[in-house]
């Protein structure tokens, strides 16, 4: 006699449910990726695209200091943005968690979420006005704090980081907040009962147990920063060239091999981030 098996329908149901997602992935990700790889090995000569295998674009990308600077700047923008988002976001998540009144919690949550509700173009122009040499921040610095001349806050790295931090904040706050709400409140009581004050309780109990949320938020923020295009182009003022901008420029020049290689570089960076943070996550989880 054959051993009993689960009916076919039951064992295959998950795969049927995954089918739509598979189809979308195949059409919108796998297929373009193949095209992408194909273009990356095309030859580009004097503004013309030639269907001839070559690794020249890769070689150029990896050896030319110009591209090194772009990769470095991309990582720099993403790192500083992530650092700032975490530094602002963790205390914010903590506050959201500790606020007692439900109404205050709702409003605070809405305010943290609000940057996502505003269009990226509008938000970027808004920041341009706020951060300009004649803007309110510089007015405050000069008139109230007595700075001799305006501080350049926009059309450079600072502006890009400020604006990116602003919009990615919710992506950092909510994962952290969610790990905090899942924290057993008696753990903090237990720590205090054993003689720990607020700071020791935070350092030895709350923080280590919310680290997975912090890492998840940081990962999202970092990958999103890597791919940001509009903000660096509007607030960077041409001085901050990141990979997405380079891809855009190369595409406009019909230098598709260079655009494809830039895109692949971006993809590899994102994948490395995911792998690295998954490693850290596994380490930080209980």
């Amino acid at each position: 006699m054959q051993p009993a098996r689960a009916p076919f329908r039951r064992s295959s149901a998950p795969w049927f449910l995954l089918l739509p997602a598979f189809l979308v992935m195949a059409y919108a990700f796998v297929l373009p990726m193949l095209v992408f790889f194909r273009y990356s090995v095309y030859t580009y000569e004097r503004g013309k695209l030639i269907d001839e295998f070559s690794l020249d674009t890769y070689r150029e990308f990896l050896t030319d200091p110009y591209f090194h600077t772009i990769i470095f700047d991309t990582l720099k923008v993403a790192s500083i943005t992530t650092l700032c988002s975490v530094l602002v976001g963790y205390p914010l998540a903590y506050a959201l968690w500790r606020v007692k009144s439900a109404a205050a919690k709702r409003w605070l949550g809405l305010i943290i979420f609000s940057p996502i509700l505003v269009s990226v173009v509008v938000r970027s122009y808004g920041w341009t006005v706020l951060l300009a040499d004649q803007g309110p921040i510089n007015w405050f610095l000069q008139m109230v704090l007595g700075f001799p001349e305006p501080i350049r806050l926009v059309f450079n790295l600072t502006g890009v980081v400020i604006s990116l931090t602003h919009v990615f904040l919710p992506f950092v706050v909510f994962p952290i907040y969610s790990t905090m709400t899942r924290l057993d409140p008696t753990l903090r009581e237990a720590a205090m009962d054993l003689g720990a004050g607020w700071w020791t309780t935070f350092r030895r109990v709350t923080f280590p147990l919310t680290l997975p949320g912090l890492l998840a938020g940081a990962q999202i923020c970092f990958t999103l920063s890597l791919g940001a295009f509009v903000t660096p182009s509007l607030l960077g003022g041409g001085r901050v060239i990141v990979l997405p901008l380079q891809v855009f420029t190369a595409t406009s020049d019909i230098n598709w091999p260079l655009a494809a290689v830039g895109g692949i570089a971006l993809l590899i960076l994102a994948m490395l981030t995911v792998i690295l943070s998954n490693r850290l996550l596994r380490f930080s989880e209980v």
Partner: protein
């Protein structure tokens, strides 16, 4: 005897709910003291006021001779074993137990020694490097106990620590807790809704009901001489039957239960003509056993339930038609009484307590 913990006229209000209503008690040094009551009776709130997680709205909490007014939880000479143990999931057993000593910045070698001693006391030396998720409920319970005891608190507070364990393990842990308490001589304040737990382990029990302490006494006194109708019904199993009160003094009432008259205990002089007598299930004897009882009458067996160590009978008294439940021990040699037969039943008057009609 000096007292380790003293509550003086303490009240606590949550919104409009009076959780603890003007209670006073003192816990003698080195004793096992239980706060027993149904959920919502204020026992946990009382314990949390001792630990410093709740602040009394009125009254004083005095621990080890010091008023705990404005003393935060981390500065009190108390440690707590939490209901679901609240072990730090990211720390090993050793790290959990060492936490309290590290926070106090004790020297390293002292920490190592005291943690080892605490783990030995609860029998967990072999599991020192495990994380909480690799432990069973009983083992987590022991870690929680070791973590609290390692700080050598004046008073150990336990908030239903056995509630999440299965029955067999719970019985075993009860004996173990009592052994540990005797061994180290620390004052234990134990919160539970389980009367069996409280009776087994305690030197003294405070039975709480609706934010008040109904009775504070030894387990035996609480069982045998319940101060209120609530205590009588909450602890053990009792029949409550309406009786006529023929005569009443400060301690004894002459009552009539459908023509059967006997002297029953009272806690105060009852003024009414009628009352309710509490008759414990196992205090009623049945068949030949009834011959030695002070009060004897006849009854018909209407139901018999065999439950191993005991047989539970439901009987109807002759004359009054009152329905009673009786727990008779099962000796393993005689057959249970069959349903429908008429048997002799009896009880002793001083094993009963009579309460007034409107008493709670």
């Amino acid at each position: 005897m000096t007292s380790d913990v003293e509550f003086r006229d303490v009240s606590k209000v949550f919104g409009s709910f009076l959780a603890v209503d003007n209670i006073s008690f003192s816990v003698p040094q080195g004793s096992f003291f239980s706060l027993l009551g149904p959920s919502g009776c204020g026992k946990t709130t009382t314990l949390r006021m001792a630990s410093g997680f709740e602040w009394p709205d009125r009254g004083d909490v005095v621990i080890d001779g010091q008023n705990m007014h404005n003393v935060p939880a981390y500065a009190r000479p108390t440690n707590m074993v939490f209901q679901r143990w609240a072990l730090f999931p990211h720390m090993t057993v050793t790290q959990n137990v060492a936490f309290g000593l590290e926070v106090d910045r004790r020297p390293r070698d002292e920490i190592v020694r005291r943690v080892a001693e605490a783990l030995e006391l609860v029998g967990l030396t072999d599991l020192a490097t495990r994380k909480p998720r690799q432990l069973s409920g009983g083992q987590m319970q022991r870690v929680a106990l070791a973590r609290a005891l390692v700080k050598a608190p004046k008073v150990l507070l336990l908030d239903e620590p056995l509630g999440a364990l299965d029955l067999k393990l719970r019985m075993q842990m009860q004996l173990e807790l009592k052994r540990i308490q005797r061994e180290i001589g620390t004052t234990f304040i134990y919160v539970t809704h389980d009367q069996g737990e409280a009776l087994t382990m305690s030197d003294q029990i405070a039975v709480m009901n609706k934010g008040r302490i109904d009775q504070l006494d030894t387990p035996q006194a609480i069982y045998d001489r319940p101060a209120t109708r609530f205590v009588s019904s909450f602890i053990g199993n009792a029949n409550f039957l309406p009786v006529d009160i023929l005569d009443c003094s400060d301690t004894v009432a002459k009552v009539s239960l459908g023509g059967v008259t006997f002297a029953s205990m009272v806690n105060r002089k009852l003024s009414g003509k009628s009352g309710v007598v509490s008759l414990r299930h196992e205090r009623i004897r049945i068949g030949n056993e009834a011959a030695t009882s002070q009060i004897k009458t006849n009854a018909t067996i209407t139901d018999a339930i065999f439950s191993g160590a005991a047989i539970t009978y439901v009987i109807r008294l002759e004359g009054s038609d009152a329905i009673l439940t009786v727990d008779a021990p099962h000796d393993g040699t005689t057959a249970p009484q069959s349903i429908g037969t008429t048997v002799r039943v009896g009880w002793d008057g001083d094993a009963t307590t009579t309460f007034g009609d409107r008493d709670e």
